[in-house]
Amino acid sequence: MSDFSYVPVLAQLGDDFFGDREGATERCPGNNGLCPGWIADNFSDFVDPFWEHVLLSIVPLAIGFVVATGLALLAHRYRGLQPIFLGFVGALFTIPSIAFYLILLNITGRGYTTAVVVLTAYTQVLIYRNVMTGLQEVPRETVDVAEGMGLTRRQILWRVELPMALPTIFAGLRIAASSTVGIAGFAFFAGAGGLGGEIFADPAFKGNVVTASLLMILLATVLELIVLAVQRAFTPWERAASS
């Protein structure tokens, strides 16, 4: 985790980002071992951060999906916007999350909102690019014949282009889901909690690191499966093609 170099800086953000884990080493004679006993004893400490993490993943994904799709639809309508939007969402993705939190410190302060803003920004490039690609991959003749049968621009978008782009859009959403779960691990630097807090409470102690990480992997997997299930429900023709 290269973000470690930020830790001294982050001390300024607040005083609670290193939680109290003093009892941990006492109870784990192996000293920095996995300590299953410790995990069993302290598992309840992970429940609240886990649900925080769930919200830190789902909310940015939902907002990010709406915003990125909106941007893509605008860019689809006004082609001139495409390079501008792509550059913008691409640039957002390159800002390190810790730096992002520091930048926003003066605007939104610390807390949940700041974390959601940053995590939403990161979803943009993944979702936007896939919506755009999906729309562009709709064959020209399909749009042509839709126009020729008397569908309006808007009807073509909603009844032909967007449905046909769905598989690609959902693919972007899946990548964004696992990516957001991962990046939300840094949300505690903004004071928004989440499983990251449990990891950084004692980065050297393996029990908490492993437990928090496994919970994040579980969350990422479940989210992906949910998106996949929704995708299957919305794109029945995809299954027909393979059968």
């Binding site: 399909t142 042509d144 126009e147 020729g148 049968m149 569908l151 093609a241």
Partner: protein, 402 residues
């Protein structure tokens, strides 16, 4: 489309499924793209009577597709006007206009995310038909194009190329449009299936009698499908507009002559069937018949060799001289009755049969196998000199077949 403007097409009372078609007129239509040195379509004037197929044909860059796409305003008209059933397309909202015009393109462009039923129902859906009416129409169209009813719930990816093409046609026909635009509709189909789909479509058209604008680059397809053919040359200039037979017999200019090819006389053979030309009358005799009767028949026939038929009138063979020696006709053949040509064969196939059998003539039989006359190379040659206006169009041929 107002009801006064739509003409009842075709005189055939039995075309139960649909009978509405509108005449189409292009008046001095020009398409000039901004910045282009020359127009893409240059003062094009055409009249297509209701219920006829007008084929736009020409080399690439001749503006045939552009001309077609101006009809439903997929491309804006620079100058001139297009009238459907007497009404200018310029006065219509493009989307409304297009819903009244069937549209089929080479790639077919079925919506992959919609079922076959939903694809066919596209325009009825746009027009706000109720569920019951739409469902009934989809069922009717699947039946017309010869696909089982359970195809309604399949997706395009589950169909073969030929089936998809049929669905494309059904989708264009869904709201019973008075006019259809077809841009190389069979272009992406392999040759064997293309032939079959063309024939199928002609049979369908013989019944539906839609007004159709059909774009192709293939002159053979144009001759086969067109009631009238408009040959365009580069720059969107109309070189000739005529029925296929006239085009083949009297090409208006060297460009047309080149475009239809040096085998244009042979191409005419594909336009007619054996039943369309004057067949020779053969002296038909039966074994055991009095020879004196045969003499009378010979005097009345176009051929001096008696053709022996069985009790049902089916050809058995050409009688030899010795068969006539005696009181009654004896079974003694000089040669078998080959090749046997059918009334419904096109002249090209019939000629091919005669040539491969190395024969000057052959008996022609009807659907029951009974002799209807004799086809000779001489008669064929005579048929090619018949004035073009007596040669039927593809749609008429298909109608006659039913």
């Amino acid at each position: 489309m107002s009801t006064e403007a739509t003409a009842q097409a075709g005189s055939r009372e039995d075309s139960a499924r649909s009978a509405v078609a509108a005449p189409l007129e292009l008046r001095e239509v020009v398409k000039h793209y901004p910045g282009a040195a020359k127009p893409a379509v240059d003062h094009l004037s055409l009249e297509v009577p209701a219920g006829e197929i007008c084929v736009l044909v020409g080399p690439s860059g001749c503006g045939k597709t552009t001309a077609m796409r101006m009809v439903n305003r997929m491309i804006d008209i620079t100058d001139g006007d297009i009238l459907i059933g007497g009404n200018s397309v310029r006065d219509r909202k493009p989307a409304d206009l297009r819903r009244e015009i069937g549209y089929v393109i080479q790639q077919i462009g079925l919506f992959p995310h919609k079922t076959i039923g939903e694809n066919i129902a596209t325009v009825p859906h746009l027009l706000g038909w109720d569920k019951q009416r739409t469902r009934a129409r989809v069922e009717e169209l699947l039946n017309i194009i010869g696909l089982p009813g359970d195809f309604r719930d399949r997706y395009p990816s589950q169909l073969s190329g030929g089936q998809r093409q049929r669905v494309g046609v059904a989708r264009a026909l869904a709201a019973d449009p008075p006019l259809m635009l077809m841009d190389e509709p069979f272009g992406a189909i392999d040759p064997i299936n293309r032939e079959r789909l063309q024939n199928e479509f002609l049979r369908l058209q013989a019944e539906l009698r839609k007004t159709i604008v059909f774009v192709t680059h293939d002159i053979d397809e144009a001759i086969k499908m067109g009631d009238r053919i408009a040959i365009l040359k580069e720059g969107g200039i109309l070189a000739q507009y005529a029925p296929p037979a006239e085009l083949l017999m009297y090409p208006a200019e060297p460009f047309v002559e080149d475009f239809v090819g040096s085998d244009r006389a042979l191409k005419r053979l594909a336009l007619q069937r054996v039943r369309d030309i004057d067949l020779w009358k053969a002296p038909l005799v039966r074994i055991g018949e009095p020879v004196s009767d045969v003499k009378a028949k010979l005097a009345d026939a176009d051929l001096e060799i008696p053709l022996v038929v069985d009790e049902h009138g089916r050809p058995k063979g050409w009688l030899s001289e010795r068969g006539l020696q005696g009181e009654r006709v004896r079974e003694d053949f000089r040669s078998p009755a080959e090749p046997i040509v059918e009334l419904d064969d096109i002249l090209r196939d019939a000629l091919s049969d005669l040539l491969s059998a190395d024969s000057q003539y052959g008996p022609v039989v009807d659907a029951d196998g009974c002799v209807a006359g004799v086809l000779s190379i001489e008669a064929l040659s005579h048929a090619l000199s018949v004035p073009a206006q007596h040669v039927p169009s593809a749609t008429e041929l298909a109608a006659a077949e039913d």
